[in-house]
Subunit: 399 residues, 2 copies
């Protein structure tokens, strides 16, 4: 039997998935499991996207242009202009989710062995893409004590080496929900400019900003137009994670023309998803207004409930639909498994993502979890009641 | 401005696309261009797939399982059983087209620097996937004189080194249309077994067999179950290239569990495409019967027309919808460009894919082209008339 590749052996398992077998067993026992572990929103997909499929009027579902359907890319430019981001269709490659966009960018910009700085905790799959491209992630720690704000410039400079080629941020952040301010992004701009690095930014949660805060895009950082690569996705914005339509955007023409070679090798992004995404571009503001109101209520419920529990520390983040919170337990990997295997409160339990999977530094995040607030307020309250009761009796509790 | 990666620089440009700007200019001049260059069939997508979209009944377009929707994978197993291929849903990872399946397999099974043997000419994008994974393609030549049959075992053994990890075949073949016989595949089995190599097989044209020939799958080669990885796709079978639904299939559990880590990193294959593909599994045999009748008529028209032209040599392949044919010209790259830039016959011209892009050995295929017979018989006849007239006056003709 031939051997598996070294890269295949090294590929990290998704930290979100490793508890799935335990959740399945809990369900087999008849338990209700509240899923706070995944980023699959329950909000309805806009009717315009569903209608686009109901009214599908083609005889042959053909390949699209490798960079995506031109009418869709034009519509995207209008969407970005409304967000004060001014680009042309030639700056856009439509991809199979933001995932493919990240893979294209890493392969286009970094050599195997190159380093990419990412503030941790960070979206776990970045590790997968880095491993896949043979690139080293150099984490710098953002701490719960500082609400997971961007670490100071000095922390970046400590880890910069001749092999450093890029910095990557996710804003608003998955898994912390932190929304970087324009001032913080200006700090990034300085470092990027000084060391001539690529700046990769995942802005898939752009609309998910609360407390009257406004999102500032890396695309509007001056004088680093050729350094910035943006990743975007339809998944969260329109609650349509399954359509797998994202994009890689840059004003750097060489980056786009090189990434296009990878895009052509895989022929085209999904056509049906693009038809639906193009229809989504006309989604009225009211859709987002309602969505933001709903998510804000959930966040408020969640953060308040968490901070009322003894020994729990939870910042009050202004973006996305995640919090990373500290629990008074020995090890959240064990605790989260215990919740599914051993615990129930009125035949209910909670599934959360242990935070170690979001850190690249071993041992970090051992008493933190990521909670996605993708359930309605009532279910969230029930889930928090479960957690509260669990923390009272978990054998590895630290208070 | 930061540098592009070495891999990005090395990525080959798609040979099918490089003539596109010339075709656009020809069209601007008001010329009709017969597209024989691409594998985008004109056959209608089965109504069941379109209906699946018209009847889409979901509120949220959610992520699917990373390996694909389980009901779809079960249906796939029934499809394969009808083709005498017996597998379980756990042997299948649904992917974004066969392209993603190939990427997963190469990353799972080969290390950078490893070698993969592919009979040339081969599907040009294999070069892209190999470059992307840092793997070396070792071509062995299949010749037009032998109708592009599988080279003898001795040719494989000549290029096998300690770095050889896999052999890849496409059956029926793109770009030659050659259908490997069971006997030829048994030869492959011998080599694979002797050297314990992976055998990658792209069987996306399984149904496209003519002259009463039957397809034999690598999945039915005995005693190499753990070596075989199959790539498949909905694109050509159901004339639905844009839905981007393919699969990677293997009975090797370690290969599948490792590839699943890459699959989880990209979350899920496209849901809408999977809904349509599941519906396609019930496509009646009559759909294929009609399709095969149509393609056979096209092939017969094309091959007869080609072989009637002076100095043209074209085998009569039994599969897929391509021929690779030899033309009496100095250089098909120049000729195909000339056809678009300089030539017209009654204001019509032809676009074909120069074959050099399908060879990895420099200089090979310089007087061959790949022709896709994805146009109806009438258009094919007109296109062949253009080609015939062009060959009479092309300045670089060799007869």
């Amino acid at each position: 039997m031939p051997k598996i590749s070294q890269k295949g052996q090294k590929m990290p398992e998704s930290p979100i998935r490793k508890l799935v077998p335990y959740a399945e067993k809990a369900k087999e026992k008849g338990r209700k499991v509240f899923h706070l572990n995944i980023g699959q929103p329950d909000i309805e997909t806009p009717q315009s996207m569903i209608d686009a499929m109901h009214n599908l009027d083609v005889k042959v579902i053909e390949y699209s242009h490798s960079a995506g359907i031109i009418s869709y890319r034009r519509k995207m430019c209008e969407y970005y202009a409304r967000h004060d981001i001014h680009i042309t269709p030639d700056d856009i490659i439509v991809t199979a989710g933001a995932s493919e966009a990240i893979l294209f960018a890493v392969q286009t910009c970094l050599n195997p062995g190159d380093e990419i700085i990412i503030p941790e905790p960070f979206y776990a799959n970045y590790n997968g893409f880095a491993t896949s491209a043979g690139v080293k992630v150099k984490p710098i720690v953002s701490t719960i004590e500082e609400d997971f704000a961007l670490p100071p410039i000095s922390e970046f400079e400590k880890v910069i080496t001749p092999a450093t080629k890029a910095i990557m941020v996710c804003n608003p952040n998955n898994p912390t929900g932190y929304l970087y301010s324009e001032k913080e992004l200006e700090t990034l701009r300085e470092i990027v400019k000084k060391y001539d690095l690529y700046l990769f930014a995942d802005e898939v949660y752009r609309e998910f900003c609360y407390d009257g805060r406004k999102h500032f895009s890396v695309m509007n950082l001056k004088e680093i137009e050729n350094n910035v690569v943006l990743f975007d996705s339809v998944s969260k914005r329109y609650s349509a994670c399954g359509i797998r339509v994202g994009s890689m955007i840059s004003r750097n023409k060489e980056v786009i023309s090189t990434a296009m070679k990878f895009a052509q090798a895989r022929l085209s992004p999904p056509s049906l998803g693009q038809f639906a995404s193009e229809a989504a571009m006309d989604t009225p503001d009211s859709y987002f207004d309602e969505m933001i109101t709903e998510y804000k209520a959930r966040r408020d419920t969640l953060v308040a409930a968490l901070n009322k529990m003894e020994g729990v520390v939870c910042p009050n983040p202004s973006g996305a639909f995640y919090v990373t919170t500290k629990l008074p337990v020995d090890d959240t990997d064990k605790f989260c498994q215990w919740l599914l295997e051993e615990f129930n409160y009125e035949n209910q339990t909670v599934m959360m993502a242990p935070a170690t999977g979001f850190y690249s530094t071993p041992g970090k995040g051992i008493n933190e979890v990521r909670i996605s607030y993708v359930l309605n307020v009532e279910d969230l309250k029930k889930a928090m009641k479960c957690l509260e009761e669990a923390l009272k009796i978990y054998p590895g509790r630290t208070i």
